[in-house]
């Protein structure tokens, strides 16, 4: 698992970081995004749906986990 610290970044930067960095993990591995922009809670799951990746949920406040499927 890799962790991306996007705290303090405004939308859509956390989603851009996620899209750029998910290539750096193997298929099946997890990326954790730390983001406190209020749009992240909505836009990270929406990105997963649009890009066919798996949204695993928010294990802690301002943290979101995504599993690479493709």
């Amino acid at each position: 698992m890799i962790e991306l610290d996007c705290l303090g970044q405004k939308c859509p930067l956390p989603v851009i970081q996620l899209a750029k960095n998910i290539r750096n993990v193997e298929v099946g591995d997890v990326v954790r995004v730390l983001a406190d922009d209020p749009a992240a809670a909505n836009d990270i799951p929406a990105w997963c749906r649009m890009k066919q990746q798996e949204y695993l949920g928010s294990p802690a406040p301002d943290a979101y986990e995504v599993r690479r499927l493709s």
């Binding site: 939308c11 859509p12 989603v15 851009i16 750029k20 749009a39 836009d43 929406a46 649009m50």
Partner: protein, 375 residues
């Protein structure tokens, strides 16, 4: 020669209809006096006021004494909910509302007890949850927007009204985006609309309270027997609003067909020419003039400014464009992408050429913003 800017934000405010302009200018000369006075200038103003109320009643198929006028659509919406809640205080204190109401209604909801009913991915009300909510004891009033002001999805007003009738709960419908453009199903108890959404002047809200619905003014009242704002209304604006509503309704069906075809074209072409885009809302059961889409990796504010520089006025539900810096509650309730969001809304002055020019420049503008972000 510079191409004139294309105004594609009618859902915020439609350009003044020529009939509204004409009526406004005439009423400025004739309708300045206080209608409650007994001299001839006052009587003339009263006649204008009565004729405007009669025109609203006819256009909305209600009785004249069910019409009241307010200084904005927001004021009418808030008077509707607050007055209906006050009228139902003996039965309950809870407001049931959809998750996609206009913020005018949500701000009222936050002042007391409220139950929010969700929508699906297309922005359609969850009718089962609505049924459960309105039939829960303690429910005073239910509020449902006729069609989403942000994504255009039409709501099942008739079915929602049936559940309300079964439960004995009055239904308030915020019809600001529908009046003058699309029919609203019957069955509601209160309805509000906003003149500048149909091409009337800003500063006129219309509230209908059906006979038999208990409505108690939430504001200090003067000695009038009808609900309404205390103090003088902008009578010339009211006259212009009524005249333009009549004119708009006369052309509404043809305009709906024309604009709906342009919206279909935008929905199809944006999806085909912009990569990683989500065109949101119900593609079929929707307002004729409004379409919304979100572009991945795009800053909404940058997109609005770039479109403005290219000569297109549109609005956005992205958080970076909102005063609250929070994403649109409507897009959130639907679970669709909120950044890179654009709402395009058309009006009677919108031409096919404007839409084509917009569709021609959009993909390049989106691509450039993405490149600058390293995508």
């Amino acid at each position: 020669m510079a191409v004139p800017a294309a105004y594609l934000d009618a859902a915020t405010a439609a350009p003044l209809h020529p009939v509204a302009r004409e009526a406004l200018l005439a009423a400025l000369d004739d309708g300045w006096a206080d209608p409650s006075r007994l001299y001839s200038a006052g009587r003339r103003a009263q006649q204008l006021s009565d004729a405007a109320t009669a025109a609203f009643a006819e256009a909305l198929a209600v009785r004249q004494d069910e019409v009241s006028l307010w200084p904005s659509g927001t004021a009418a919406a808030q008077a509707a909910v607050l007055g209906a809640l006050a009228g139902r205080a003996r039965h309950g204190d809870t407001l049931v509302h959809s998750a996609i109401e206009h913020s005018a209604v949500l701000h009222v909801a936050r002042r007391g007890k409220a139950v929010e009913v969700p929508v699906d991915r297309l922005g359609r009300l969850d009718l089962d949850a609505w049924d459960r909510a309105v039939s829960t004891p303690g429910t005073a009033v239910a509020a449902l927007i006729s069609a989403s002001h942000e994504v255009g999805t039409e709501q099942p007003v008739a079915a929602a009204a049936d559940y309300c009738a079964e439960a004995g709960v009055p239904l308030y419908v915020d019809a600001a985006q529908s009046i003058g453009r699309a029919p609203v199903a019957p069955g509601w108890s209160l309805l509000s609309a906003s003149a500048h959404k149909w091409g009337g002047p800003p500063g006129v809200g219309v509230l209908i309270v059906r006979k038999g619905v208990r409505w108690i003014s939430p504001y200090p009242q003067d000695d009038l027997y009808r609900p309404g704002v205390s103090g003088a209304l902008d009578l010339p604006a009211v006259v212009a609003a009524a005249a333009s509503l009549r004119a708009v309704l006369a052309e509404a069906q043809t305009e709906a067909v024309r604009l709906s075809a342009l919206v279909d074209r935008i929905r199809e072409r944006v999806a085909a020419t912009v990569p990683d885009v989500e065109v949101v809302g119900d593609p079929v059961r929707r307002l004729p003039h409004l379409v919304t889409f979100s572009c991945l990796y795009v800053d909404g504010e940058a997109l609005l400014h770039a479109l403005d520089r290219a000569g297109f006025a549109v609005s956005s539900g992205s958080s970076c464009t909102a005063s609250t810096l929070k994403p649109s509650h409507v897009l959130e309730a639907m679970g669709v992408l909120s950044h890179g969001n654009v709402r395009v809304s058309l009006h009677r002055g919108t031409t096919e050429d404007e839409v084509e020019r917009f569709l021609a420049v959009l993909p390049g503008i989106v691509e450039k913003i993405r490149q600058e972000a390293g995508m």
